[in-house]
């Protein structure tokens, strides 16, 4: 099983769990499995167009998937995924 590490504010929707075991051969499949286990996460990770929100970064074994193949990046059961928010704001 692949592990996804959750950022602190989203642990509200994983019953406080910091790591979730998921299945899938790609990042997208792993995220889909995460959503199926904790469906309230979806509105915070995806926008209305079904795309990952701009502030959501996914790292696989320390590498940002935007520099790999995005959600099509291949993973293995030993991969460690980390959801990392970009924190931004202003007026």
């Amino acid at each position: 099983m692949t592990i996804i590490k959750m950022p602190t504010p989203l642990r509200l929707y994983t019953d406080g769990q910091t790591e979730i075991n998921v299945q899938g051969n790609t990042v997208g499949e792993a995220l889909k499995d995460l959503m199926s286990q904790h469906n309230e996460l979806e509105q915070h990770l995806y926008n209305d167009d079904g795309q990952l929100r701009a502030f959501v970064n996914i790292f696989v074994d320390g590498d940002d998937v935007r520099h790999l193949n995005g959600v099509d990046t291949q993973i293995t059961p030993n991969s460690i995924l980390r959801i990392v928010p970009s924190v931004a704001g202003g007026f």
Partner: protein, 141 residues
């Protein structure tokens, strides 16, 4: 939820944001939550990583800084409980841009800095459906 901040930590936050003025400054709030009270035990004052020419009305904390902050919190036995940032010469009300990038559960402390001085501060939390910020009570003790 009520956010509790000591005078000393609030001064640290203010100093960082005044140093950043007229640009926006930002950082993380680390602490713990018990029942409906959230207590700040330390802060991580961070560099604004937004491109320089727009730092007067934008701030950004990188993914790398975020990961480091979570690691620090874990080492200290604390949680990342929120973010603070300044609105230079502007009210401490969250903007649409703030909402777009906001995460649930966190406390968002916004401090208005006018002419190098703290003018006022407000604290906010995003509601569950992401539609709006709700003002959160905060105490400086």
């Amino acid at each position: 939820m009520i956010l509790n901040i000591s005078k000393n930590i609030y001064q640290q936050i203010s100093n960082h944001l005044i140093d950043a003025y007229p640009n926006e400054g930002a950082g993380f709030l680390l602490g713990y939550t018990k029942n409906h009270n959230r207590t700040v035990r330390m802060i991580l004052a961070l560099v604004n990583e937004w491109e320089t020419k727009e730092q007067t009305n934008r701030y950004k904390i990188s993914a790398k800084a975020y990961m480091n902050a979570e690691d620090v919190a874990e080492q200290k036995g604390l949680d990342l409980i929120g973010v603070f940032h300044s609105h230079p010469d502007s009210p401490a009300n969250p903007s649409e841009y703030d909402r777009e990038f906001a995460l649930p559960w966190w406390s968002y402390l916004i401090i208005s800095i006018n002419n190098n001085k703290v003018d006022h501060a407000k604290c906010w939390v995003l509601d569950d459906d992401r539609n709006q910020f709700i003002e959160e009570i905060f105490n400086i003790k």
